[in-house]
Symmetry: C2
C-alpha cells in the first residue's frame, strides 16, 4: 500500500512573490535541491510523463514530487506507486502555486534528503505562468489533441518555459496537428525554448527529455 501525505496549503501572505521566489531559489541552491515546475492544461499527461521521468532518474537522484490539485488525491496515488516520495497539495480552489505555497509544499516533503524536487502545478495554461514558484527550471507539456495553435492563444505560458514537451505524439495520425507549425509558434513566443516531442505512453522521446533534465540537475548541484 502506497503512502503519502495530503497538505491543505494556505494562501500566500507575501505581496512580493518575485522576491520570495528568489529567496527560495537561493535556499535550494544552498541545499543542493533542483526544483522543476511542470505545467500544462488538464489532461495533457503531466502525471504519466512524471512516472516515466522518475523511472529514468530514480537510481541517480533522490526524487520528491509535489502534486498540486484543487481537490482529489488521484495523482499522488499514481506517483506513490513509483516509490518516489510524494506529497499531495490541495490548493483549496486556487488556480496556481506561488513561491510561498511551493515552500510550504517543500517543507511538507522534507527536502533535506531530496535532490530533484518536481512540482506538478495545477492543470491550467493561464494563471500558473504568472507566478514564479522559485523553481530552477520551468517545463510545460502541450499534447497533440489540444491543437498546434495553443502557443498563439496562451503566450505567457510558452514564453516562460525552458522546455516544451509535445506529448501524445503516438496519436498524431488521428488528429489535425501540424508539428512543424507548432514548433514555429512556440519559437515565435520563445526563441530559446527547447522543444521535445514525446509520447509518455510509448516512451518515445523520454530519453531526450530525461537527458536534458539530468544535465540541468547536475549543473545546479555542481
Amino acid at each position: 500500500m502506497s503512502e503519502f501525505k495530503v497538505l491543505e496549503i494556505k494562501k500566500s501572505v507575501f505581496e512580493d512573490n518575485d522576491r520570495q521566489a528568489d529567496l527560495l531559489r537561493d535556499e535550494l541552491k544552498k541545499n543542493g535541491v533542483f526544483l522543476l515546475n511542470l505545467m500544462s492544461s488538464p489532461g495533457s499527461g503531466k502525471t504519466t510523463t512524471l512516472r516515466r521521468t522518475i523511472e529514468a532518474l530514480k537510481d541517480e537522484f533522490k526524487i520528491g514530487v509535489m502534486e498540486a490539485d484543487i481537490d482529489s488525491d488521484v495523482d499522488a496515488q499514481t506517483i506513490s506507486e513509483t516509490g518516489a516520495k510524494v506529497i499531495q497539495l490541495h490548493t483549496g480552489g486556487m488556480c496556481h502555486l506561488d513561491a510561498e505555497m511551493t515552500k510550504q509544499g517543500l517543507e511538507g516533503l522534507q527536502t533535506s534528503d531530496v535532490e530533484l524536487a518536481i512540482l506538478e502545478n495545477v492543470g491550467n495554461l493561464v494563471c500558473p505562468a504568472e507566478f514564479d514558484t522559485g523553481a530552477v527550471k520551468n517545463a510545460m507539456i502541450l499534447s497533440v489533441p489540444e491543437g498546434h495553435d495553443k502557443p498563439l492563444k496562451y503566450p505567457l505560458m510558452f514564453s516562460i518555459c525552458d522546455v516544451v514537451l509535445i506529448n501524445k505524439i503516438d496519436v498524431l495520425p488521428y488528429f489535425d496537428f501540424d508539428l512543424e507549425k507548432c514548433k514555429e509558434y512556440v519559437l515565435k513566443r520563445n526563441p530559446n525554448a527547447k522543444i521535445i516531442p514525446i509520447s509518455s505512453r510509448t516512451g518515445e522521446g523520454i530519453e531526450e527529455w530525461t537527458n536534458w533534465l539530468r544535465e540541468e540537475v547536475k549543473k545546479w548541484r555542481a
Copy 2:
C-alpha cells in the same frame, strides 16, 4: 473575406459580481436574448463544437458569438466563416470573464438583433467556474484525451454546469478513457448534469446537444 471586431476588454470594477450577473440576466430576459457560457480546458474542441452548433441552429435563431482569449484572433476567424456574428474579446492576461466583462462583449456584439448569444470563455477548468457571467445556462466540454478523472480534480467546474459534453468520442479506441466511470464522476459532482457524448469532428451526438439547446432558447424567449 470574413470580418469581426476585436475588443480589448477592461477589468471589472464591480465587487459584487453575482449582483451584476443577475442584473445582466434580467436585461437579457427582457430583450429575449439567451446567453450560453461555454467552458473547457484549452484544446477540448470548443470552437469546433461551436461551428457545429451554429450550422444546426442558424436558420432558427440569430446567433452572436463572443470569443474570449488571452491573445490571438484564430477562433473568431474560424467562427466568422460560419456567417455568424462574432466578436473577439481579448482579456489582457485575465483567466476568466465575469458579468461586467461579458456585458462589454455583448455591447460590442450589438445584441439588439441577436437571439442566441454564445460566450466561448477562456480555456481554463478552474477560474471561469468561479465567476457567474450572467449566462442563462452553463455548458462545458471535457474531451476524451483529457481523461475520465477530471471531474474529481476540477469539482467546481463540473458542479456549476447544466450540460457536460464529452467530446472527441471518435478517438475513444486510442485512449484509456472509461466513459461510464466518467459519467459516474460527473454525476457525483452534479446529480442534475445532462451528459452528452459527442464528436464535433464526425457530428455524432450533435443533434442531441442542439436539440437540448434549442428547447432551452425557446423556453427562455417564450
